[in-house]
Structure formats: structure tokens, C-alpha cells
């Protein structure tokens, strides 16, 4: 008897281990070219990924997140650390202990936490029915299908990792009858707030609906007491950051009701499930009958997160699309229930091995690209991303050799993804691409260009603290003095200390124009090449302010 029981437990554990491994394989092993450590940020496909990478690295270098690093915020040294800090901190610590670079440690962590999120959802569903939980698990794999995958590769990292804590928060609610369950409530709610505050709003919405659900079932007293204590403690724990949040994000982007039908990024929607919708629909209908059952929190999670995923139609804008990244996990209960009750029509006495066998078939199907016309499949590919070894070497050269001087990037294919340029660890300036194109078309070389002073200001206008409850905003103050300050304007290239030119481009004419400007600059004896490789050249201007270039037309 004991042996049989042990075998059962092990079978389930082994299955979880396999699912976890498949998730890591489909999520990041292939994407990372089966390497944990890379020579440069690998698989970074958009500016936002670099935004997070640079911030983690800056916290590691500064030792804390009291302020933003100056190279993130256009050179200001007193800008308060305004982004939700938790992910950055665990990314930096993981880097220290594992020896991985921050660009690898944080990225890897996102995938690992997501894989754990699916297993925690499994625990929630298991409270309802073990077979349903096993049959639900394969759907989680679709967080790595095409549309949700941008949550990882395009840098929605805080939203993704906050949803890991959100699922843990759901689990804590499902276990609210545990002794002192407010502890778990507090830990997970605080973590959600400190990782991505939007998900804390989702947590509050779920809590409200869960309370009504419990109230109707006349089982609300424990929930009320524990949630009240937990909410107060979470508020106290997060108070310091919430003050920052109030004077930064909440001031610049106050909540306003707006409906949004589409998103500029690929969207995951219900039709994305294709023929799996048959099972999901059956599971959804069945869930409506099971609401009265005691342990049906998983169904409520599915229903509420389905509604939140559609909240773009009733006021949450693009945040709802971020919730959809995790729909394959939240809605997995419907797949599991759908399959389970269909199978029950055939097999009356379902055993764990049966459920695992069926789930394994789904696990395989969801990884077969040839099935993509029928069911969604994982988007497995290897991508180096925007960075090249040569560009990374250039960034590292700046980190090691240049301090607090003005640097100017001319055209580069990926320099439009501005957060990348913060990897110099110097506040970057960049020639505007549209302007660059227009003067190229006019066949001129000029001394003044439309140049942007780059920084992460869009959210918070370079907020700094005057006192604990009083903030100033550099962008607004500078603009009030000089309306042309903000943030792109005609600037004299001769005032810069360093110039960065890409030698290669997907559109060779840009690289040729870059080289033409560079060759004009080095005609002045005080301007010299100081770094170069096959992709990029760096010039040093030893007399900033001197006339550095002869304006002219060329043929």
C-alpha cells in the first residue's frame, strides 16, 4: 500500500518536473542558444528589455536603488529611483551569487519564475481536482506562443514577474484558512506592488470579487480578517515606494477611463486558442456549475482574469493586454476541466497515469509547429537580438575608458531603441534619424543636427525629491526656462567629446554617410579615432567647441 502511494506521489512529481523542464526548454533554452551565459545581452529584441537590463546593472553598480543612475535619466544625479524595484533587486542579487552577468541573470529569472507560476496555478487547480490540474498544465506552455512571447522578448518583464506573485497571491487566498494566513497574503501582495503596480490593482479586483463570492457562501469572516490585516501590513511595507509612485507614475499617468480595441504589439485573444477552444468552452460552461463547490478558487481565477484580460474595453487600456500574456496559465483550468469531463464519459475510474498520459500528448502537440493551423504552438527560435559582439565591445570600451563626457551617436540601425545606448554608462545624445535622412537626401554635411538628449523621462519628467512628500521635475523646470530644451533640438556637434559612427548598416547609404562625416571630422588634427572594430568607430574631440567640420555639399 505504502509503495503504491509513494509511486503515485512520485509519478505526479516527476510529471511536474517534466513540465517544468519543457517550459524552460520551449521558453528560454532554445531562445538562449542552449547557453546560460553570453558574451553580450542575447535575445534582447526591443528597447524595453535594455531599459530593464541597464537598470539592474546600475543597481548592482550603485549598491542600491535610491536614485536612478545619471546615464538613465539624461545626466541628472538626483532623480529618485522611480521604477518598481523588486525584479531589479532579485536580478542583481542572482547575478552576484550565480556569477552570471545581470543581462543573463535577470532574463533567465523571468523564464524560471514564469515556469514556477504555472506550477503554482497547478496547486490552485489541484485543490479542486488533481486530474483536472494535471490536464490543465500543458496549456501553460502557451505563454511561450507567439503573441504572449513578446512579454519576454520585448521587455514586459515587470508585468510578467508581477503576475508570478499575483498567482502566488491567488494561492494564498485559496489557503486563507491557514493559521496566520495574513503573512502569506502580505508577502505576495507587497511583492506584487513592488514588482508592477498594475497587477496589484488586478489583485485588489480579484480580492473584491472573491470576498463577494465568499460572502454569498457565508464563509467570509476569516477572509475579511486576514485580508484586512494583510492589506494594512502591505501598505506599511510598500509605503516608501508608494509615495514615490504617487509623485511619479500616478502624477504623470493618472488613471483615466479609456477603451482600447487594439494594441500596437501582437495581441493574444480568445481566438488564439484555435481548436483548443472546444475544450476550453466545455470547461468554462462546467465551471459555472461548480461555483458552489467549496474549493473552486481556480475557476474564479480563470473567470476573473478572463474579464481582466478584456478590461481594455472598460477602462484599463494596454494593461489588460499584459494580463493576457498569462492567459494560458490563468485559463488552463478550463482546458483541464473540459478534457476531464469529456474523458469521464469514457473512462469512469480515471487514474493519475491516465491523466498524465493525456496531458503528455497535449504537451507534445503544443510543441509541434506543423500543428499550428489547428492549435497554438510554442514559438521556438533562437535570436541574438539587437546587440552584436562588436557593438557590445564598444559599449564596454566606454564603460572602461570614458567618464562624464558628452557622447553623440550618429545613425545606427538599432540606435532608435534608445535604452540600448545607456550601456555606455554615460548620458547619450543621438542624431535624429528623420533629420539625418533629410540632410542625406540634400547631400549636405552640416555642423548642426537635430539631436536628442536621451533619458527615461516619459513616465516621470525626471522627478527628484525636495522632501519626503515634495517633488520637483527637472523636465518641467527646464522647459519653463527654455521651451526649446525639451528634448530634441538643433545642436552643434562640435560641442561633443566623442562621436560614435556605425560602419555597417542594412541600408548601406546611411553607413556611407556616417563615414563621410567621420572623415570630415578627422581632418581636424584635434579629432582622432580612439576606438574601432569591424562595425563601429569612435572619434574623440579634444577641443570641444572649436569649429570641427566644414559644412558643404557632396556629390
Amino acid at each position: 500500500m505504502i509503495i503504491i502511494k509513494l509511486t503515485k506521489i512520485n509519478l505526479e512529481s516527476i510529471f511536474l518536473l517534466i513540465v517544468f523542464s519543457v517550459m524552460l526548454w520551449a521558453g528560454c533554452a532554445i531562445f538562449f542558444n542552449h547557453e546560460l551565459s553570453h558574451n553580450f545581452p542575447f535575445g534582447y529584441l526591443a528597447s524595453d528589455t535594455y531599459q530593464h537590463q541597464v537598470r539592474v546593472e546600475s543597481i548592482k553598480l550603485m549598491g542600491n536603488y535610491r536614485y536612478e543612475a545619471p546615464y538613465i535619466v539624461a545626466g541628472y544625479e538626483d532623480n529618485v529611483g522611480f521604477y518598481q524595484p523588486l525584479l531589479y533587486h532579485i536580478g542583481a542579487i542572482f547575478s552576484y551569487v550565480s556569477g552570471l552577468e545581470t543581462y543573463d541573470s535577470t532574463y533567465l529569472l523571468i523564464f524560471i519564475l514564469t515556469s514556477f507560476a504555472s506550477l503554482i496555478m497547478y496547486l490552485i487547480i489541484r485543490q479542486f481536482n488533481k486530474h483536472v490540474a494535471i490536464l490543465s498544465l500543458p496549456l501553460s506552455l502557451l505563454v511561450f506562443s507567439q503573441a504572449p512571447y513578446i512579454g519576454f522578448t520585448w521587455g514586459h518583464w515587470p508585468a510578467v514577474s508581477a503576475q508570478f506573485f499575483l498567482i502566488a497571491f491567488f494561492w494564498a487566498l485559496s489557503k486563507i484558512n491557514l493559521k496566520n494566513s495574513f503573512i502569506l497574503f502580505t508577502i505576495f501582495l507587497s511583492a506584487t506592488i513592488l514588482t508592477h503596480t498594475s497587477e496589484a490593482v488586478f489583485a485588489a479586483m480579484f480580492l473584491f470579487i472573491y470576498f463577494i463570492y465568499k460572502f454569498i457562501k457565508k464563509d467570509y469572516k476569516t477572509l475579511f480578517k486576514q485580508a484586512l490585516i494583510g492589506s494594512i501590513l502591505s501598505f506599511i511595507i510598500c509605503f516608501y515606494y508608494l509615495v514615490i509612485f504617487k509623485f511619479t507614475w500616478a502624477r504623470m499617468q493618472p488613471y483615466s477611463f479609456y477603451a482600447m480595441k487594439a494594441w500596437a504589439s501582437p495581441m493574444f485573444g480568445i481566438p488564439s486558442f484555435k481548436y483548443l477552444l472546444i475544450f476550453l468552452s466545455i470547461g468554462f460552461i462546467i465551471s459555472l456549475f461548480y461555483f458552489r463547490k467549496k474549493k473552486s478558487t481556480a475557476f474564479l481565477v480563470g473567470l476573473v482574469m478572463l474579464l481582466i484580460g478584456y478590461s481594455n474595453y472598460y477602462g484599463f487600456g494596454h494593461r489588460s493586454f499584459q494580463a493576457r500574456f498569462f492567459w494560458p496559465i490563468y485559463l488552463s483550468i478550463f482546458l483541464g476541466a473540459g478534457i476531464y469531463y469529456l474523458i469521464k464519459l469514457i473512462i469512469k475510474k480515471l487514474q493519475t497515469i491516465h491523466s498524465i498520459a493525456i496531458a503528455s500528448i497535449f504537451l507534445i502537440i503544443l510543441n509541434i509547429s506543423a500543428m499550428s493551423s489547428i492549435v497554438p504552438v510554442t514559438a521556438r527560435f533562437t535570436a541574438q537580438g539587437l546587440m552584436s559582439q562588436q557593438h557590445w565591445d564598444m559599449f564596454r570600451w566606454f564603460q572602461d575608458n570614458v567618464n562624464n563626457e558628452k557622447i553623440l551617436f550618429f545613425y545606427g540601425d538599432f540606435y532608435g531603441q534608445k535604452a540600448i545606448l545607456r550601456n555606455t554608462h554615460i548620458p547619450p545624445y543621438r542624431v535624429g534619424t528623420n533629420y539625418f535622412t533629410s540632410i542625406l537626401q540634400n547631400k549636405t554635411i552640416k555642423r548642426e543636427y537635430m539631436i536628442s538628449r536621451l533619458g527615461d523621462h516619459h513616465g516621470v519628467h525626471y522627478a527628484y525629491r525636495k522632501s519626503f512628500f515634495e517633488y520637483g521635475y527637472h523636465a518641467e523646470e527646464e522647459e519653463s526656462k527654455d521651451p526649446t530644451y525639451y528634448y530634441s533640438k538643433m545642436r552643434d556637434i562640435c560641442t561633443f567629446d566623442y562621436y560614435i559612427f556605425d560602419k555597417v548598416s542594412q541600408q548601406p547609404v546611411f553607413a556611407q554617410y556616417n563615414m563621410l562625416i567621420a572623415s570630415e571630422l578627422i581632418k581636424k588634427e584635434w579629432i582622432q579615432p580612439v576606438y574601432g572594430n569591424d562595425y563601429v568607430i569612435v572619434l574623440k574631440n579634444n577641443n570641444p567647441g572649436e569649429d570641427c567640420i566644414n559644412e558643404k555639399r557632396f556629390d
Binding site: S21, Y65, H89, V97, I183
Partner: protein
Amino acid sequence: MKKDLIKKEAVSLVYILLAGIVILKILFYNEDFPTILRTLLAFFWLFILPGFSLMYYWEDKLNFMERFLIGVAVSAAIIGTCSYYFGLIGLNIKYHGILLPLLLLTIGSIIIIKNK
């Protein structure tokens, strides 16, 4: 709390660690073994052991699997939150990877001893 249970669960953790090494080596076959081992040990040290030890507080109500999986979320949440505030009060983040897990493991040990 039964001594046997802790012993048994410690063995289970070792099995998971060994399985983790094999799985990571298969998935990340282009990576060298020392990097895989160090990464996995770092993950265990930071995100598994602290949370798992703290979850002994609910040992009588939650099984091994629940405490193991939820422990990861507990570790990540507490270490991330504490690291932010410890940094703000002046303790450099480079020490957090050692100090915070040690602190949580100490609290976890107290819980285990008290539950005995």
C-alpha cells in the same frame, strides 16, 4: 515536528538538486558544467532554501510540494523586498546574496525548532 520528516525532505531536496543539474545540462548543453552548477546552486541558495524553511511554519497543513513551490515565491518576494530597503538604508547590494538567505534560513530554523 518529526526529525524523520526533515531528514526525508532534505533528501528530497538533494534529489531535486541532482535532477536540476541533469535537466539544466540537457537543456543548456552549450554551457560549461561549472556555470550550470553555480547557477543552480545560486538559485537554490536564494530562492528555494529560504522560502522552503520559512514554509515549515505551515508544515502541518501543507505538503512538501506546496511548501516547495510556494517557498520559491516567498523567497523571491522577501529577498526582493528586503534587498530594496536594506539598500536604501545603506547596506550595499553585493552583501545581500549572502546575508538575506542566511537571515531567512535562521528564521526558518527557529520555526523548525519551535515546531518540534
